[in-house]
């Protein structure tokens, strides 16, 4: 390999500035890094939605939204009756679950989109007006909205119904395939929201301390890229899980 170090050296007046890269170079590199992470996340989202659609499509033994189980009391309740009073365990009945609340699902999504919109406007405002105080306030609001969506996301997860059943020869509660797939989708959204809350809190603190300001805004843009992707992925997930959930 032929190299020419002399001309490069001369071009920089004899000083090597490669040790101190310009911010726009670092910014471009980090932007590519964020895009690549988003690319990996896209594969993850597609795999989760593939799981949802696959299980719905195969509908094994018609159990996409149903399962043999015991209503009213846990299996162990009946087992105790059997032990103590000499009764008998009732036959398992087919329990059907309905689709989860589309309203709650979309509420979490709307909150996520709202927070993405706020963080995007905040960043645009910072770049246009250099007003850091306004950015800090808006980043704080976006973070608060995200925390609210986490709360509702967790409420959504708690509302996924369980069925008392015998599972792997042990007595336990179980979820149907639909509920399991919803848990994967909603769980993934909540994990992403936790990451956004961390990033939002960081942006708020950093801008309040002046680390992010009217001239040093590239981290705000990087976070915004990821934030918008999470909002888009949340919309895609809600669209899929609320429109093609039941089997007619």
């Amino acid at each position: 390999m032929s190299i020419d170090t002399e001309s490069e050296h001369a071009a920089h007046g004899g000083h090597d500035d490669g040790h101190h890269e310009p911010p726009e170079v670092v910014d471009g590199r980090q932007k590519m890094g964020v895009w690549l992470f988003i690319g990996g996340d896209m594969i993850g989202l597609s795999a989760i939605l593939f799981t949802f659609l696959y299980l719905r499509g195969v509908n094994t033994d018609g159990h996409w939204m149903s399962m043999w189980g015991y209503t009213g009391h846990p299996y162990s309740y009946y087992y105790n009756i059997l032990d103590v009073k000499g009764g008998s365990i009732p036959n398992a009945t087919l329990i059907k679950v309905g689709p989860l609340s589309a309203g709650l699902n979309w509420f979490v999504t709307v909150l996520t989109v709202l927070s993405a919109g706020i963080i995007w406007m905040a960043e645009r405002g910072l770049r246009a007006t250099k007003n850091v105080k306004s950015y800090t306030t808006m980043a704080g609001i976006a973070t608060a909205v995200t925390i609210l969506s986490i709360v509702y996301g967790i409420i959504q997860l708690q509302h996924i119904p369980q069925i008392f059943t015998a599972h792997n020869d042990s007595l336990t509660m179980a979820y149907t395939a639909y509920d399991s797939a919803m848990m994967a989708v909603d769980g993934s959204v909540v994990i992403h929201l936790f990451i956004l809350a961390f990033l939002g809190l960081g942006l708020t603190i950093r801008s309040a301390r002046g680390v992010i300001n009217g001239t040093k805004w590239y981290q705000a843009r990087l976070v915004r890229l990821f934030w918008v992707w999470v909002a888009i992925s949340s919309v895609i997930a809600s669209l899929v899980t609320t429109t093609v959930n039941t089997i007619h």
Partner: protein
């Protein structure tokens, strides 16, 4: 001559570093142990208050606690913490994290210098290969005679699963880890990787994952192979929770490493280093990284769902609640086949590099080599269901998947074309890297041809699940990738240490491993052709002789690997000094001093030619 291990002793230790000054591998272990106990305590009291000490919920919580504590203890979470409170690293902090002035101790720390990370990967690869190798010897000892009771059947099953996964992890990082870190940034003309802290994170996350994987042997009850098929995985003991979390953590490591590799190559090449002038190894590394970025999210998801089925009682793979085992097989093999090429491509690309340097010729048809690697990566994502031909899943798709699988032989054939073309009529320098390269060529032919047999559905119906398949993929991984990895080690060893890898011991090792591979796996092919199933701890008398021969062959391989380990250890400090460019190569890593300085180049070079102009050099001379 100073070595890489010693060179930063001459610089003083910078003032920065903060908390990192008190953190190292030991504090990582302590942090991991404390958090594992804390999570065990919390899980035991809040998630599962029954008398069972090791329920799945508790086991999963312990694994989570371990990795969080390990990250905290080693210092991996310092940077996110500082970022959160609005602090940036100073130049002194960065220099401290890069290991300046810290001598050998920096190899036990969260050090960001890509060369240190490269050496850490060398050590990590040896640990993984050694652990997996010991398990292989135990497995083969069990199988030396029928009805042997060297280990009980449950332990044997665990050995099979952990051996497989350890070796897969080892080979994923065997070439891309050490050389994708140590030499690749220098080859591009970069001062470091794009994201040095993420680089260290990927290494130490791998360490955390490996620890979880090895722990499965202690907690036990792994009843399936490394593919952790459902529903067996759902019925396994708590070792499965450790196994699943190890894989999830490992995929974090590979994703971070993949992003880092791609960003480094695409954004940090020095002036004049166009894509067509990139050393061919860099192409192999970046294509493998991109393929890993595609494949490993599936791996992470399938293990997360296995863990959820076991801890939250979801039903992804439980048929009586609407789940399906084939879903697991699909998701697993969507990862599983590309992963073979994530392993193979860096090794092949390293051999292209070695072939050019050692035959004093340009890489034959450079663009064909790049096209072959890209084509192989592209095709590899379209062949996953050939692993499921005999499962009964979508029989109508058998034909298309057979076709795509057989198409793989075209880019694979291009690899041979490029290698043979590069060596053809070259002035071949028969040094240690070249010897291992020829071993690769011989073994890879057998691996490739038997792969074509298995892609054929009628034959696969007969051979699937037999030792024939085991022999085939061992020719790929041991006969091919391991040979490529050792060739790469012998080739770049002088750049790391300033010394040659001991030629005499290296050749003894080569012949032992080469002969051992033929004895072991040709006999294993024979067992498979006679119908011996995989993963059994005992077998019928009809398989007695071939199994005895296979076990003897495995011992020979182990002897060869021990000789290689001896060669590495003795050569590292006492080997023959090599100088900065022992192979008289043209690529950038050979044009910087040995050991390379902290930021590689005093002045960034400007590239005016490709790195393989040996022919023109000869004409000019």
């Amino acid at each position: 001559m100073t070595t890489t291990l010693e060179h930063t002793k001459t610089a003083s230790i910078p003032q920065g570093g903060g908390l990192a000054r008190r953190q190292n591998f030991l504090t990582g272990l302590i942090g991991g142990a404390i958090f594992a106990w804390l999570f065990w305590f919390l899980a035991h009291h809040f998630l599962d208050a029954t008398s069972r000490t090791w329920s799945d919920e508790v086991a999963a919580s312990v694994t989570l606690g371990w990795i969080i504590g390990f990250w905290l203890g080693i210092g991996a979470l310092n940077a996110p913490g500082r970022w959160l409170i609005g602090k940036n690293n100073t130049r002194a902090d960065d220099l401290y994290l890069a290991g300046q002035g810290q001598g050998k101790s920096r190899y036990w720390k969260f050090t960001t210098d890509h060369k240190v990370v490269g050496v850490q990967y060398i050590i990590m690869t040896m640990v993984l290969l050694g652990s997996g190798g010991i398990l292989a010897m135990a497995i083969r000892t069990e199988l030396i005679v029928p009805g042997n009771h060297f280990v009980n059947q449950q332990v044997y099953n665990g050995f099979i699963a952990v051996h497989g996964m350890l070796m897969i992890l080892a080979l994923i990082v065997a070439v891309a880890g050490p050389w994708g870190n140590f030499v690749m940034p220098i080859m591009c003309g970069a001062r470091d990787m794009a994201f040095p802290r993420l680089n260290a994170l990927s290494l130490w996350t791998l360490v955390g994952a490996a620890a979880l994987l090895l722990t499965t042997l202690a907690v036990g009850s792994l009843t399936m192979g490394w593919v952790v098929l459902e529903p067996i995985a759902n019925q396994a003991g708590v070792g499965m929770d450790f196994f699943a979390m190890a894989i999830i953590v490992f995929t974090v490591s590979t994703t971070v490493a993949g992003v880092n590799t791609i960003c480094t190559v695409l954004t940090m090449r020095t002036k004049g280093m166009t894509l067509s002038r990139l050393p061919i190894f860099v192409w192999g590394a970046i294509i493998a990284a991109a393929l890993g970025l595609y494949a490993f999210p599936y791996f992470s998801l399938v293990e997360a769902m296995t863990l959820m089925d076991r801890t939250f009682s979801t039903s992804f793979f439980v048929a009586n609640a609407g789940g399906e085992g084939w879903l697991q097989a699909n998701l697993f093999w969507l990862m599983g086949h590309p992963e073979v090429y994530v392993i193979l491509l860096p090794a092949v690309a390293a051999l292209f590099e070695i072939a050019a340097v050692m035959s004093r010729k340009p890489v034959f048809s450079y663009r064909t080599a790049v096209a072959g690697m890209t084509g192989l990566a592209g095709l590899s994502i379209l062949v996953w269901a050939h692993h499921m031909f005999t499962t009964g899943w979508a029989p109508t798709l058998g034909g298309p998947f057979m076709l795509t699988t057989e198409l793989i032989s075209i880019p694979t054939g291009l690899f041979f074309l490029v290698l043979i073309g590069t060596l053809w009529r070259g002035n071949i320098w028969m040094k240690l890297p070249t010897v291992w390269m020829f071993g690769f060529i011989a073994n890879f032919i057998i691996a490739g041809v038997t792969g074509i047999y298995l892609s054929d559905i009628p034959l696969d119906d007969q051979l699937h699940g037999t030792m024939f398949v085991t022999a085939h993929f061992h020719y790929v991984f041991v006969g091919s990738v391991l040979f490529g990895a050792v060739a790469a080690l012998a080739f770049w060893f002088p750049k790391v240490t300033g010394r040659y890898l001991n030629e005499f011991l290296g050749r003894i090792s080569f012949w032992l491993v080469f002969i051992g591979v033929q004895v072991t796996f040709l006999a294993m092919f024979a067992s498979g052709l006679k119908g011996m199933p995989r993963r059994y701890s005992s077998y019928a008398l009809i398989f007695e002789h071939t199994n005895f021969i296979t076990t003897i062959g495995a011992y020979i391989i182990m002897a060869g690997m021990l000789v290689l380990l001896g060669a590495v250890i003795t050569s590292w400090n006492k080997g023959e000094p090599s100088g900065p460019n022992p192979w008289h190569a043209n690529s950038l890593e050979w044009l910087v001093p040995t050991p390379p300085p902290l930021e590689n180049f005093d002045v960034l070079p400007v590239i005016t030619e490709d790195p393989y102009n040996y022919g023109e050099e000869l004409v000019r001379s």
